[in-house]
Structure formats: C-alpha cells, structure tokens
Subunit: 593 residues, 2 copies
Amino acid sequence: MYKAPVEEIAFTLRHVAGLGAGLAEGRFGDLSDDLVDAILSEAGRFASDEIAPLAEIGDRQGATLKDAAVTTPPGWPALYRAWAEGGWNSLTASPEHGGQGLPHMLHVATMEMWNSGSMAFAIGPTLTIGAVEALSAHGSARLKEVYLPKMVSGEWMGSMNLTEPHAGSDLGVMKTRAERRDDGTYRIFGQKIFITYGEHDFTDNIVHLVLARLPDAPAGTRGISLFLVPKFLVEADGSPGARNDVFCHSLEHKLGIHGSPTCTMIYGDGRFGEEPGAVGWLIGEENKGLACMFTMMNNARLAVGMQGVAIAEAATQKALAYARQRTQGRAPGWQGPGMSPIVEHPDVARMLLTMKALTQGARAITYACAHAVDMSHATAGDEARHWAERASLLTPVAKSFATDVGVDVASLGVQVHGGMGFIEETGAARLYRDARIAPIYEGTNGIQAIDLVTRKLPLSDGAQMAGLVAELRGIAESVGASNDTAFGETAARLASTLDDLQAATDWLSTALAEGRQADALAGATPYQRLFGLALTGAYLAKAALAEAGDGRKHERIALCRFTAENIIAETAALKDRVVTGAASIAAARTLLD
Amino acid sequence: MYKAPVEEIAFTLRHVAGLGAGLAEGRFGDLSDDLVDAILSEAGRFASDEIAPLAEIGDRQGATLKDAAVTTPPGWPALYRAWAEGGWNSLTASPEHGGQGLPHMLHVATMEMWNSGSMAFAIGPTLTIGAVEALSAHGSARLKEVYLPKMVSGEWMGSMNLTEPHAGSDLGVMKTRAERRDDGTYRIFGQKIFITYGEHDFTDNIVHLVLARLPDAPAGTRGISLFLVPKFLVEADGSPGARNDVFCHSLEHKLGIHGSPTCTMIYGDGRFGEEPGAVGWLIGEENKGLACMFTMMNNARLAVGMQGVAIAEAATQKALAYARQRTQGRAPGWQGPGMSPIVEHPDVARMLLTMKALTQGARAITYACAHAVDMSHATAGDEARHWAERASLLTPVAKSFATDVGVDVASLGVQVHGGMGFIEETGAARLYRDARIAPIYEGTNGIQAIDLVTRKLPLSDGAQMAGLVAELRGIAESVGASNDTAFGETAARLASTLDDLQAATDWLSTALAEGRQADALAGATPYQRLFGLALTGAYLAKAALAEAGDGRKHERIALCRFTAENIIAETAALKDRVVTGAASIAAARTLLD
C-alpha cells in the first residue's frame, strides 16, 4: 500500500526546487518551515490512509451512468467531502475567495500525493482548481461572487469542456455554438466529449466551463469564447435552483482511471429547462476564450505531469515492497539460507534503481516548474518575467517527461512483479493502465514538443533557454569541484549530456530561423526527452550536493551516480535523432501512404 | 481490422531469414515456393477473416469458470475447431503422427498471424504444439500412440504445468509430488498456478504435462520429473473415459489476454476418481523432467517472441489506419483544404516509422531464429551443431527483444490514437494490455538475459557469437559497398553499433572469465537490448540489400536508413550501461534496503 514519501517530497521542494531559499528570503509571506512540514505531513496521511485504500474499489467498480446521473465508486463521495473539508481544495486560491494563498509548490506536492493514492479520484479536484484559476483571472465580479467561494471550498466542483469529436488537439474547428440573449446571458448548444467529471455525485452543483463559438465569430481559434454553465442555475440566495439544459449522455469505457467518469456532455437539446439551450455566462471577452483557457493551461499541464510522478512513485513503492519479500533463485553472493529476495538479483536492482531515478527526476522537474510559477508571482518586473518564462519553458518538459516516466516506470513495476504483475489484484497493472492517459490528455506529449520547440525555446530570443543551460552547467561544475569520488563519472557524464542539449538546441534554433519548420518538428519529441533527461541528471546532482543534514547524502550521491552512468547517456542518441532524423523521416514517408 | 501482411512475411522468410536459400538448396524436402505462398496466404486469410473478428468479444467477455468447467468466449470453440480442421495444428509435427513435417519457419510465420488476430486465442494452440514436441521427443511408444495423433490433429489440446506459488523462475523449489504405483503409473498431488488453457471447452480431452517431484528425488532442479496427466483417462478404444483427479479451481483476473483461461489446477485432492491422486504417466526418465521440458523451452520462448511481433504488427496497422483518416491541425507543407491527416505531422510519422522499424526488426530476428532451428534439423554433424547453437544464441534475444518491442509499439499505438487510444472500443488499449504478459511468461526477459550472457555467449568458447558478429559486419560492409546514397549513413551507423556489440561482448566475457558473475548479470539486460538493436539494424539492411524484384526495394532502403539513423544509435548508451553499470548499481544498493 502507498505511503506518501513526505520526507523526500519536502527535501525536493526545499533543496532542489528552491522553496528553501524562497522561504529564507521571505518570498512567500508568513509561510514558515513548520507550516510546510505540517501541511505535507497531513496531506501524506490523508493520501495514504484515506485515498489509497479506496483506489482498488474505484478501479473495479468504476463510475456508472443511469438516467443522466453518475454514481461514483462506493465511498468516493464521502472521501471527496472529507478531502474538501480538510481544506485541500483551497490551498492556492486567493484568500479573497476563501483560499489559503499558499505557493503553487505546495499544490503540486499535495497533488502528487492525491494522485499516488488514486489518480482516478484526484483528477476531479484538479480540474476544479483549474476552473477556479480561469474564473479568478477572467470572470466578472458577479460571477466570482456567486461561484468562487463555493468552488474554492469544494462545495461545488468544476469541469472543463473543450474537446469535441473533430476538435481535439486542434480546437479551432469546434462546433459548439453560443447564442446571445438580451439579458446578457447566452444559450449553449452542442456536444462535448471526454469531459472528466462532467457529471458525478460528489457535489450539489457542477460548474462547467465551456468553449463555444458565437454565430458571428471569426473562424478558427480566434473565434472561440469561454462560458460558465452551471448544472443547476443558482438562486438569489446562492443555492442550486432549476436544472440547466445540460446532461451527461454517456460514459467512456476506458483502459484506466475507471473511477473517474469520462462524459459525453450534451448542451441545449431541450432535455431540461423551458426552452432548448443551456444558460451560460461569458467569462472574459467574446472570442477570447482560448486566451482565458491558456491562463490555466500551463498549470493544468503541470498538474498532469504530477500524475506521472505520482504513478511512478506508487509503482516504485509497490515493486520495491514485492522485490524485498518475494524470494526466487540465489543471487550472486547471496549468503542467506534458501532463495534470495529478488531485490538481490542485479537485474532487479537495476530496474528498481531506474524507477527511483526516473521518479525523482520527474519530481524535481515538476517541482522546479511550480517554483518558477511561484517566483513569477512573488517578484515583479524583469524578475517576474524571467520566472514566468522559466515556468513556461519547463511546463512542456514537466508534462511530457513526467508522464512518459509514469508509463515507463509503471511498466517496469509490472515486470518486477513477474507473473503476479499481470494479475489485477496485485495493483501494479492498474498503475500501468492509469498511467497511459497522462501522455495524452491536456495536450499530447507530441503537442508539448511542438510547444517547446516553436514557442518556448525562442523566449527572450533564446536567452531564457541559454540561462537555464548555464545554471545546469553550474551544477555539473559543482559536482566536479566537490572532488567527491562517490560521484563516479557524474561530472563528465553530465557535462556531455549538457553538450548534447546545447547542440540539439542550436540545431533546432537554426532550423526554425531558416524556416525549416518540418525539420524542427521532426526532432521535437526526441529533443523534449533529451531535455528531460538533462534536467534529471542535473537536478539529481543538485540534490546530491545539498547539505540537508538528514544523513541521506550518501544515498543521494549514489542515486545521482547511477543516473549519470546509466540513464542520461541516452542523450547522445537523442541528439542524433534531432539532428539527422528529419531527412530520414522524409525519405521514408512513402511507407506510410 | 488486422490484415495479415502476407507479402512482408514471405519476403522476410525468404530474403532475411534464409528460407529462399534453403529451398534453393533443397534443404526442406519437396517444399516448394508455391506451397509456401499457398500456406501463408491461406493462414493470412484465416487470421484476418476468422480470428481477428472474434478478438474483441474474447477480450470483453473473457473466460468464465463454473463448477470446475471453463466457458471460453462466444464463438471461440467453433473457431478453434475450424482452425484445427484447417490443419494448422499439425504444420510442423512429424508425418509419423499425422503431422505435415513442414519447417519451423512456417510455424512461426503462421503463429505470428494467429497472435495478431488474437493473442488470447493463439496462446492455447501454441502450448499444445509445445506439448507435442516434448511428448514426441521423450514419450514412450505407448504414450505416443495413444496421445500424439489426437494432439497433432488438434482433437485434444495440451497444457504445460510448471509454476507453483513459490516456484516461478526457480522451479527447483516446487512441491507438487508424484507417487509410484505398482502398475507403472504415478499419482500426482499438488497445486499449479498460472496454467494457460488448463481447462476449457475447445476439446473433449486435455493432456496436461506436469512437473512433479518423486518422494526420493534429489533436491532442486535435478529431482523433477515430467508426467502426462489427461483430464479424462483414455479407454482402450482411444476415447475419453473416466474423469481424472485434476480440476481447475479458479481463474485469474488479468490485465490482458482475457479470453485465455489462466487456471489454478488442483491435482489429487480427491474431487474426482476413486481415490485421491491424479493418474499420470512418466515422460522420459525419472528426475529428468526439466531436461525434457528444455527440449521445448527454446521453441516456446520463440513462440512468445512471435507474440511480441504479432502485437506490434497489429498495433502498427491500427495506428497507421487511424493516422491516415484522422485529421487535426495543419502539418508543415500541407497543401490540402482544411486539416491534414495526422500522419502528415512529422512527429506522428516518426512514431509510425519507429513502430514499423521495430516490428520488422523483431520479425526478422524471430524468423532467423526459426531458420536456425530448421537448419539444425536439415543438416548433420558440425553443421547441425552450428545451427543448433545459432538457434540457442538467438532464442533469448528473439524472446526478449520482440516482447519488449510488443509493449513499446503497442504503447506508441495508443499514443498515435490520442484520446481515442484510451477508449477500449478502439482496440489499441487491448493490444497494450495483452502485450504486457509476453516479457514475463516463458522466462522473464531478465531470465532471458541471464541465459544469454551466462550460457549462450560461451557457446563454442565464444566462437558462435563471434561468427554471428562477423556475419553482421559483412552486411554492414555490403551496404557500404553498394554505394547507394539512399542508405544515408547506414553503413557507418551499423558499423558503430556492431563495435558496441563487440565491446560489450568482450567486457562480459572477461567479467565471466574472472568470476565476476554479479558484474556480468548487472549488465545482462542492457546487453540483450543492444544485441536486439544490432540485429535489427543489420537485418533491415539485409532486407534492403535483397533483390526481390517486387518494386519495394526503395521502401526497404528508406526504412533501413530510418532505423540506422534513429533507432540503433541507442547502442552506445547501452554498451556504456553494460560496462559501467555494475559499480553504480552496487554503490546504490543501499537505497533498496
């Protein structure tokens, strides 16, 4: 059973992501070290003791639909209420609306724990928090007054309605339409698919944020508006009133996250209400809906990255526990009586260390990204712009690398279990199934790579990227300067990986500058992976260099060395793929006709 | 829907694996090119038209157990009978027992197609064929007379009973016991788990091959005997008679291959028969059971490798079909109206080409292994020993590389589908689930790596391996000598990969010679992967060099180049891991305590 790695999380926040320095500099108001520890510890308890025990039944029973009403798995509505009452929904929201105004770093750290407990459960609240962000940033005073306090407290949940059957990665072609009414409201008509927690029994009301197109809107992504559409219209006293004309038509039968209802939502077909049309209120300006969505897109992508970290952590714990108790064969050097625990076999140890290294790397990257978000709010002017760019740059890597790690580590977790891994009751298979959606939703990892290469590398004319690489080189140099032989070849390996990152970055910049868009895009995914591995190597070295005084420095150095000597050497091949891949893909293109 | 790639399969058999030369030299009796084509074509039709359409219902409904009787999915018993009546079960069996005596290459080629159609269906017949091999090689004349004709025709199926709760990879600790009876029979008592098709409704009788221990047997693997235990005892006229004391106690709830019943089998608890004890007959000699099993172990491992190829092929076809019709966004250079098919996006093209390259590499390796098996039977003396060694050397690579490819390609297949990939009805998720068992059963891929490094590399004092590497170098040199610029950097990349293979092989040989067993085992899995990639690069080059006169040479060259420039560069990092991994794993070992 999952046990939240509270110490590891706290260490990574403080010594790798930068929370320690931020607190020392007083960047985060009166937030204290003690409060951070108290929050993480209590979140860890809730995730381990309350959420994790309900993960399996959620997977087995899933969510069910009858007469447009969704029933979540047994115990889940109560679990959600306990979670909301614990104040976990309001961690980062503004105190103005009842939130606690805490740094985003604490949000992602707790998010990791909820998702390790049960990804299917945690995805719902994640979306509410995204809806709160969008509404806070762009909603009218009246909308905020009516909806935000209840959404911040968790009394009502939110949902995000973007995708349509023909509009997934490309939202420009969506068809859901909105009509203006004289009273300033709108009526929404259309169908949305893949709507996570679009309907459920957790809360009395659900606040749908819906992208739709006005009749006179420009074509493409510049003609999309964002609307708030509550499941129940709100009475003057703030309570849920008449049912709005929106309902869940069907649930998807999915590979994983079975407890999470994935809904097809029908807006405005007349099933509810006096006349067809779901009543909606505009958020932000007309035709600026996508910009409003982008406000929260980065954070949502980071949240999905956390799911990758969370799955990887849960899978690693489960595999390690099994490998310690399962005995089979005799490992070289085994002195005990009878068979050795399989963790003693070098090949199994390699799998487990790889799982640990990738998990810790993904965690460090996602936390560093959250730190940049926090710093962009805690600073002003050029400094704030620097940190906003940093967050922007790291987001696609955090999302894609961590979610790929989630899949890879969950797959290794199945492998460590041998035949038992294929049996559903063991739980390793559930993680392998759940993990698979994270590289897809909130922008596939391929979309992240396009974003990284075409929009993020050029930030500040490449200076943001250059600054990051310089920081990473500084870490490699510190390892060399430490003269600690326990680091093995870390300094040289890391330097070589950073050379690969630099060379690939330069090649892509040139390709883009020369208008060779297809060439750059052909290398985007290998580049993104290279970037993630380079950050992993550097951040594990940063962790190993830190003096936390907790007696675990030698373990961190050992993991850093294992990573440097076993994981990051792959970057040379990835750089190769970036640089030479486009021509060979173009040459082989006819094979796909 | 899957369509068997008959031309690709025939090409690979002839021009890469060596069937063409074998036929030209008259190695395979009166087998003709025409007959090969007829067999492959009819197998392709059966797999595509009969098996594939029943895959989804098999997955959805699975196998069920009631009162010790297993019901397979609707349509499956009739499908099995049609398959057996088609003569597909008897392809490679000896004509003496009603078989067709065809080369093993045709067996693996058809096996690929059955498994692409439905892995859950195909795994049952695979095991029968393994049982036929073991019985043919080691059974008494009487046992062969009674059982073989019906098992060869497919009238009865076989099952393989090895695993017990505490005896998986390490069979030496198994507890199932056998007692001698005065009439020369034995009574078997014990529990076996993970028994594929241990019980079902395909046939009137099931012939279980069971490993058990005699009371006076030596400890460990030298005290295990092999028994034949029929579900129904056979009457004098050859028909099934009284029920034997063996039954299926429960079915596993698995991640994938749901249609395949995975049984816990109880032997000798008195549920059936006059006195407790399942009646069994010894196969081979007492205490030599494991050796009998090893007779068929190589072929069984190769058969599982075929499952990896099969899943990869099915996943690639499905993803490619989707990518051609799904439109989203506008790819660079897209001139058409509206959105482009996603196959036009370079990143999607990269995924699909990677899927094609890995599938074709895994196919070539497995077929080459089958060719070596055939040649070991078609030759004599030193030549036969050479080919037997070649088969032995390639088997762990074929099993592990192809099954890892199955998982990786199925995962890419889900990714290409985007959100639809996560929906079970699409079918991509089923392949991702089914694929995951193949790296585990018939010896985990970690066990394969140990076998490869400690038992296969030393064959003929390393000369077998050296000979293979020399052959592969010859292919690289032929590419260089072709002076065909369409190969891009293939010759140089392949030479570099073969240098990596050579260096890693030398390092492992030295480690073993110096008694550094743990060091060698720590690098075994990266080495095995390196080996598979080197073979992939070389065999795709061999395919590209072949003159098949089918107008597809330029496509093969393009795929070869893509592979050389994008896939096999990974070998440098893998060699690194072999050479430096052991020390860093040992240093980090305390992290796993």
